[in-house]
Amino acid sequence: MSDKPKLAFYWCASCGGCEESVVDLAEDILMVAGAVDIIFWPVAMDFKKSDVEAMEDGSIFASMINGAIRTSEQEEMARLIRRKSKVVIAYGSCAHMGGIPSLANEFTRSQIMEYMYQEAPSVVNPEKTRPMLNFKHNSENVTLPEIRNLVRALDQVIDVDYYLPGCPPTPKLLKQAVLTLLSGEFPPKGTVLSPDEALCEECPRKESKPSDLSFKHFYRPHEVLLDKTKCLLSQGVVCMGPATRAGCEALCISGNMPCSGCFGPTSRVRDQGAKMLSSLCSNISENDEAGIDKVLGGIPDPVGTFYRYGLASSLLRKKITEDV
C-alpha cells in the first residue's frame, strides 16, 4: 500500500444513486484515484468487512457514507467505519437527513411488515411467513439484520464531521469536497459542504420571482403547462427553492421541474418543511378559512411534499403514535 490518504465509500439504506454520482466524476475520478487510495467501496471493489476491521483505528483519512440507517447491520458498519476514520462525511440526502427512505417513519415497523409481507396486492403468503433474525438451517444458524423501528439520518447514529447534500450530490461538489479535505484546511465540524444560501439565489429564473406571490391555486407539475422562463412559484407550483440550500445550480429547474428540496435547509433553519409551509401559506391570497382551504387543496400530501428528503431529521422525526 502506498502512503496516499485512504478513502472509503459505504452505502446504507440508499438507492445506489450516490454511488453513481461518484462515477459521474468522469475523468476527474482519475484525479481522485491518483490522489488517494480507495480502500473500501463495496459497490465497486472487492474488499471485505474483515479488511476494514483489520485496519488501525483512525487510519482511514475520510469515509463517505451514503444512505439512511434502517437496520442493525447498517448501524454496525457505520460505527465500524467511524472508528476507523478520521473524517466521516454524510454523503447525499439520505445520510444527511434521512432522505426518501425516512418517509417510512410515517408508519410503524409492524405496519410496514404487515403490508410488505401480507397485504400488498402482489403478495401471496398464506403461511404468513415473516423474515426472522435467526433461523436454524441444516444445523447452521442463519441470521438476518434487524429492521429498526425508525429510519435515521447518519448523525442520529454516529458522529458526523461534514455533510455533502443532494439526491445525489453533484460531481462538482464531491470534487470540491475532496480537494478541500486534501488541502488540509478543514472547515468547521458540522459544515454542510455547499453554499449556505437559498437555491433562489442561484436560480436562473430569480429575476422573474415576484415580490408578492399571492397564490390563488397550487398545481402539481403534471397538471399544468409550465413556462420555461418564469419562476415556478409564480406559476403556482410548489418549488422548494426558498427553503432549500443552494449548490446544485438549479438542476431540476433547468429541466423545468420544481425544486423538491434535496439539499436540505440552510444553517439558519432547523426544520425545512415547517419553513417552506410557512413561506407558502403566508402568501396565499385568501383571508377566510374556506378560501384558504380551497387553495391548499392543491397540496394533497404536505408531509411528502415538505419533508420529501428529511422526515428523519425534522423536529418530529416520525408519525406520533399515541399508544407507544
Binding site: 442493525s72 435467526n134 410557512s278 401559506c281 391548499l296 415538505f306
Partner: protein, 167 residues
Amino acid sequence: MPDKNYEPKIVAFFCNWCTYTAADLAGVSRLKYAPNVKVIRIMCSGRVDPQFILQAFASGADGVLIGGCHPGDCHYSEGNYKMLRRFRLLKRMLSSLGIGDDRFRLEWISASEGEKVKTVINDMVEKLKILGPLSIPKQISILDKELEEVTDEHTEQLTGRKELSHV
C-alpha cells in the same frame, strides 16, 4: 389507562396587542383558569414560525395554543391572516403526523376578552386530559434505546465466518 394525576402541558403564543393583553385582563380581574399553560408573548400571531410549534411538541408539550387579534383587527394589518393560513395547512400536516386537532388550536381573543382566555384554556385542558399525554421526547427515547443494543449479538454469531455474503 388515563392517569388521574395527569396535568397537560400547553405552550401558548399570545400576541402582544390582543390576546396577551386579554390574559393580563383575566389576571387583574382575578379570573381563575387552569395553570397548565405557559404563555409566550410575541408581537403578532403572524410571528409564530411553524418551527416554534413543532419545537414545542418535540420538547414535550401536549398542546399548543395560539392567540391573535380578530380578523380585521391585527395591529400590523394582516399578521393574523398569515397565521390562519399557516394554521390550516399545519393542522392537516400535524394530523397526518399523528397530532390530533384538539392538540393544536388557534383562537382570536381581543384585548377586552379576558373571559374568553379563561374559557379557551379551561376547555383545552379538559380535552387534553381526555386525550392523555403526547410525550414525544419519551417516545423517541424509547425508540432510540434500540441504538444502545449494540449489535454485538449479531457480530458474535458471525464471528468465525470467513466472509459476509453482503460485503
